[in-house]
């Protein structure tokens, strides 16, 4: 299949437009389309083609290596796919300017290459023009420039390509209608498909949140309160915390806080994120005004695909070294970021005395109706109403420390009361979510505004990492209370709970291995992010690849060059065989003057003449054209292109003259 003129250039133009690679797009398009004008062709052998194909692979690998050190892993594949038209340009160039204008299948298939002895004896060859166009269009789509123009351009390109392969059975107008219908249905289809994905994502979010417990959502926290079984959390290291003075005993690092407790889950009501503006370096972000006597830590964490929530200690007011495109702050202390590198190492300045959370309101005092009896009972039992705020905190703390035990066994014996009430009144055993929720409800019970906070407890120092490491099992929940005009962390979960969670893990040999590999990955990612780190060595790594590329591209013998003479001869011959006369025959057939199979043309005209349906002069003119046509296809004399052009002109003239009478 030969591509229609300028189809390749159009596809490359779309690619250049979408990706911004105008230089490469125009250059490749010019080179490939120029083949229609340039007559020079090279006689590449099979081994030459193999060499060129290998070069494409090497260019691809070079690009992959470069991207490994210059962009985040999640972007490598998509960027590589965007660059495919460049990496496979040598192959399409070789095909376009080769004498054969096709590529042996053994060039592309490694399996066929290896089957030297018992492979196919007559391997087939393919024309990669259309596959290359498809690659170019797919690469353009990956740029993800979301404008309606892309679909329009795609539609025009499709029509362009389909025009040459259309069936001649039906009228052209019918084809046009079908193509337009296909364009509209494709348009409706892609909008519908996108909406379907959005719908499924929305509906599937609850399921996803349940399945992927631990992923931070600043609007909602699904707890395991009320569940039955054993709560198990992994020991994968999630993030690392470096502290200059190494004094981070039991630091609570928060992801979000919530104010509404409904049916065992915590929610945020009426929270809107505010966009923050970075400093000139685009890496320093202010969460609240600067405070004195601040502490500093550095947190290394892996980022999710697009959005993630920062892990910050209470009272954080400034974040540095954070190369993200946007940072949003919620009034409930959650800080959301977008589009960052795969791993971030950000510095945090904080003062635990100044929380940035919004001032309390009535929602911070709400206790669900079903929990009120248990809360009132405990408040009365502890006689909290007669105590000062500090005494209240101390009493509640002692109450939980002395009467409760930490457990990951989830039980629910009494179905008539809520899990938290059961925890407070009967069971008195549970995990941190129970302690945090109960604390919040008790504080609210005596009029102290309180919220539920989720995050992690930082306590495990790793000598290997030279930093604190925080595992999945260190995920924690606690309360924040508004006492004496400021918010503060209240953690009433019995001390030593982290050891309880990781008791098995620490004895596990596997855990040591996992920790080691986790550290290796971390060290690699960290050095990649650092300026002047591994990035500088990337170029050194590329040198051998460039040497291999140069070797593959150096042709030991010269490739013979040909003029396009043969092709021209072929086209002339084709023209002779398919003489323009057939357009008359086709026209006559469309008017009902069918020529029988193998019926000589002059017999045909005699038959038409005998029917007396056409003017005699039209038939006579036709007969003279038939003689010329015979000369064209059977004549031994040198028939030039000019003769053929003259003949075609006469055919057109005949059609023009007699179209009205036939």
């Amino acid at each position: 299949m030969k591509t229609p003129p300028l189809l390749m250039a159009a596809a490359l133009a779309i690619w250049a437009w979408q990706t911004g690679f105008w230089f490469f797009g125009i250059l490749i398009a010019l080179i490939l389309e120029a083949s229609r004008l340039i007559e020079t062709r090279w006689n590449f052998s099979l081994s030459d083609f193999k060499r060129i194909a290998d070069s494409c692979t090497i260019i691809f690998v070079i690009m992959a290596v470069y991207l490994m050190f210059s962009t985040s892993p999640s972007k490598i594949i998509f960027t590589l796919l965007q660059w495919l038209p460049i990496s496979f340009f040598p192959l399409i160039f070789a095909q376009t300017y080769s004498v054969k204008n096709r590529i042996d299948i053994r060039v592309l298939s490694l399996v066929s290459r290896r089957q030297k002895d018992f492979g196919p004896k007559n391997p087939s060859s393919i024309n990669i023009s259309y596959p290359y166009i498809m690659t170019v269009v797919l690469a353009a789509s990956i740029a993800n420039v979301r404008t309606p123009g892309f679909y329009n351009a795609l539609f025009i390109l499709g029509v362009w390509a389909l025009f040459s392969v259309r069936s001649r059975r039906l009228p052209f107008l019918f084809w046009v209608m079908i193509v337009i219908f296909a364009g509209f249905s494709g348009y409706a289809g892609h909008i519908g498909l996108h909406r379907l994905q959005v719908f499924i994502e929305d509906k599937g979010m609850d399921w996803y949140m349940n399945a992927m417990r631990g992923t931070a959502d600043p609007f909602k926290s699904i707890t395991a309160i009320g569940d039955i079984g054993t709560l198990k959390l992994g020991n994968r290291v999630i993030f690392r915390v470096e502290s200059p003075d190494r004094k981070l005993e039991n630091l609570l690092v928060r992801e979000a806080s919530y104010n509404r407790y409904i049916l065992s889950n915590w929610f945020v009501t009426s929270a809107s994120f505010k966009l923050s503006t970075p400093e000139a370096d685009k890496q320093t972000w202010h969460i609240s005004p600067e405070r004195e006597n601040s502490s500093y830590i550095k947190i290394y964490s892996y980022l999710g695909e697009r959005k993630d929530v920062l892990k910050l200690p209470g009272g954080s007011f400034k974040v540095t070294q954070l190369p993200v495109s946007s940072l949003e702050i919620s009034p409930f202390g959650a800080v959301r970021i977008e589009n960052g590198p795969s791993m971030i190492g950000y510095g945090v300045y904080y003062n635990p005395d100044y929380f940035t959370d919004s001032a309390p309101d009535t929602s911070d005092l709400v206790i669900p109706k079903k929990e009120i009896p248990a809360v009132v009972k405990i408040v009365r039992q502890l006689d909290l109403g007669s105590k000062t705020n500090d005494q209240i905190l101390e009493t509640i703390h002692d109450f939980f420390q002395n009467n409760f035990k930490y457990s990951l066994q989830l039980e629910n014996k009494y179905e008539e009361i809520t899990p938290v009430s059961e925890f407070l009144l009967n069971l008195r055993s549970g995990h941190c979510e129970y302690f945090a929720t109960s604390t919040v409800l008790l504080l609210r019970g005596i009029g102290i505004p309180a919220r539920y906070a989720t995050g992690y407890l930082v306590y495990e120092y790793s000598k290997l990492n030279k930093a604190y490491i925080v595992r999945e099992s260190h995920a924690h929940a606690w309360a924040i209370a508004f006492i004496n005009g400021k918010w503060q962390d209240i953690d009433n979960t019995p001390a030593g709970w982290p050891e309880f969670d990781t008791a098995d893990a620490e004895n596990s040999l596997w855990e040591v291995f996992f920790d080691f590999f986790s550290w290796m990955r971390f060290a690699f990612s960290k050095s990649k992010e650092q300026q002047g780190g591994i990035k500088n060595y990337a170029l050194l790594l590329l040198i051998p690849l460039f040497i291999i590329l140069a070797r593959r591209l150096s042709f030991r013998r010269s490739v013979t060059r040909h003029r396009k003479k043969q092709a021209i001869e072929t086209s002339t011959l084709e023209k002779r065989n398919g003489s323009g006369f057939y357009s008359i025959e086709k026209y006559m057939e469309s008017k009902g003057f069918y020529r029988l199979t193998h019926e000589p043309l002059l017999f045909w005209t005699d038959r038409i003449k005998s029917g007396k349906q056409l003017p005699t002069e039209a038939i006579e003119a036709l007969e003279s054209l038939i003689h010329l046509h015979y000369r064209n296809i059977f004549g031994h004399e040198n028939i030039t292109n000019k003769d053929l052009q003259n003949f075609d002109a006469k055919v057109r003239l005949w059609l023009k003259t007699y179209r009205s009478v036939i």
Binding site: Y130, Y151, L154, R166, S167, F174, I178, V179, H194
Partner: protein
């Protein structure tokens, strides 16, 4: 396990065939595009490939929907020649008649061969020649065995089978001829089972197929090479068959014709005037039971890996069978198949085409040793003027056979076909003075003949 593999390959093959039949090349390309864009565009937020996916899917769907409206009834009849030749164009005509009421145009024709898929028993028992050399995975999966068995049963390549042959406008009730040109890829009996009248959809991607059952077969003769003017060895010998074999040419008192001198012709038969005219000795021929008889011995004892070598040997034998002028001499084709065959052609006994038909059907002999062939040749050696031996091996048995034939005074032409990947060492091919061995390499047979 073998059954599951067989079933899997069988179904997969059917699916591929269905796609090749139903989708045009652009249609197949669009399908690949749909698959690629589906993979890349799986997340509609990440890329715009889903727009390509929906556009391509909509055009394919519309193509398929449009194709269901095609109506037409046809009959078709092939006009086949008696023989075709392997790897040479076979041209025949197909007469198609439009039995419907509507004019049909823009159609084309596929001519389909017999389903080449092997049966389960063949798949289980017949090993592919290179099977033992393949890696463990290939040996377990047996895909190459399947492929090889398909190739073995396949006379037409898919390119030929699914080649678009335009049918001229079909007027209702009038037969239209279509010229079909195919290139059979191997010798044997080509069985054609059906013809497909293809109607492309308006977009040219999907096809509606009307199948017409039309079983036919044609013998495909072995591929033949153009031989140089090889002087066939030997002199005339008395034929014990007597006059029954000498009805056209020989030596008798009745003059029949003039011909070139051959060593052994008596001097008194020389026609001096013709010698003077032509400058070379010419003798008179008379009817008698003395004439030239050659043997063409074909070595069929092959190993599995020598499939190509064997095929070339058959082609070389066929080339000799065609070239030897059997009006003047006899040619005994001898080989061992399921039994010992000796077919005599020439002088009215049998003709070249019959010899070629026999060669078209010859199969490798794997159940008998080479030692079964020499006695057949030696039993006729007293009648033979010369012997052309087409061998595919050069082991001790074959060497002894050639030595003995040479020793019996039979003039010999030994053609040894070698595998291009495994030629025999030069020092092996030494048999003695006065005996020339023509070595030909597979894939370069014509080149080898040209050098002679």
């Amino acid at each position: 396990m073998k059954y599951l593999l067989y079933l899997n390959y069988r179904i997969f093959y059917s699916v591929i065939r269905w796609f090749l039949l139903r989708f045009s090349k652009p249609g197949l390309f669009v399908l690949v595009g749909i698959a690629a864009s589906a993979v890349i565009g799986i997340d509609t937020r990440q890329t715009l490939a889903y727009q390509i996916f929906t556009f391509l899917l909509s055009i394919v769907t519309i193509s398929i929907v449009c194709s269901i409206f095609f109506r037409g009834r046809f009959s078709a009849n092939r006009i086949l020649p008696k023989f075709g030749t392997a790897q040479s164009p076979l041209v025949y005509r197909v007469v198609i008649e439009n039995q419907g009421r509507q004019l049909q145009k823009g159609l084309y024709l596929f001519d389909r061969q017999k389903d080449p898929r092997p049966d389960l028993n063949s798949f289980k028992t017949i090993e592919e020649p290179y099977e033992k050399d393949r890696n463990l995975f290939d040996r377990i999966m047996k895909y190459h065995r399947w492929k090889w068995l398909i190739e073995k049963n396949q006379y037409l390549l898919p390119e030929d089978e699914y080649k678009k042959r335009p049918v001229e406008t079909l007027i209702p009730g009038i037969g239209t001829e279509v010229k079909v040109e195919v290139v059979p890829c191997r010798r044997g009996r080509l069985t054609l089972t059906e013809m497909n009248i293809i109607c492309p959809d308006p977009l040219g991607l999907f096809r509606t197929v009307k199948t017409i059952a039309a079983p036919d077969s044609i013998m495909i003769l072995p591929k033949r090479y153009k031989l140089p003017s090889i002087e066939l060895p030997g002199t005339r010998k008395h034929q014990s068959g007597g006059m029954a074999l000498t009805e056209s040419v020989g030596e008798s008192e009745e003059f029949v014709s003039l011909r070139d001198y051959r060593p052994g012709d008596p001097l008194h038969r020389i026609h001096w005037r013709s010698w003077a005219k032509t400058g070379k000795p010419v003798v008179k021929e008379y009817q008698k039971e003395f004439f030239v008889r050659h043997a063409l011995v074909l070595d069929t004892f092959t190993e599995k890996k020598q499939h190509d070598v064997f095929e070339e040997a058959v082609s070389v034998a066929a080339s000799f069978a065609c070239t030897v002028r059997t009006r003047e001499s006899l040619l005994d084709l001898m080989f061992i198949g399921t039994k010992a065959y000796c077919f005599t052609s020439g002088r009215g006994l049998g003709n070249t085409s019959q010899t070629l038909e026999l060669l078209a059907a010859v199969r490798p002999c794997t159940d008998k040793p080479f030692s079964t062939l020499p006695p057949q040749v030696f039993s006729r050696v007293h009648m033979l003027s010369g012997c052309i031996c087409v061998l595919i091996g050069w082991d001790e048995e074959r060497q002894a056979f050639i030595k003995k034939l040479n020793g019996l005074g039979v003039s010999l032409k030994v053609i040894l076909i070698e595998d291009e990947n495994m030629p025999f060492p030069d020092d092996m091919i030494k048999i003695g003075p006065g005996l020339e061995i023509i070595r030909l390499v597979t894939g370069k047979i014509q080149e080898g003949f040209s050098k002679l």
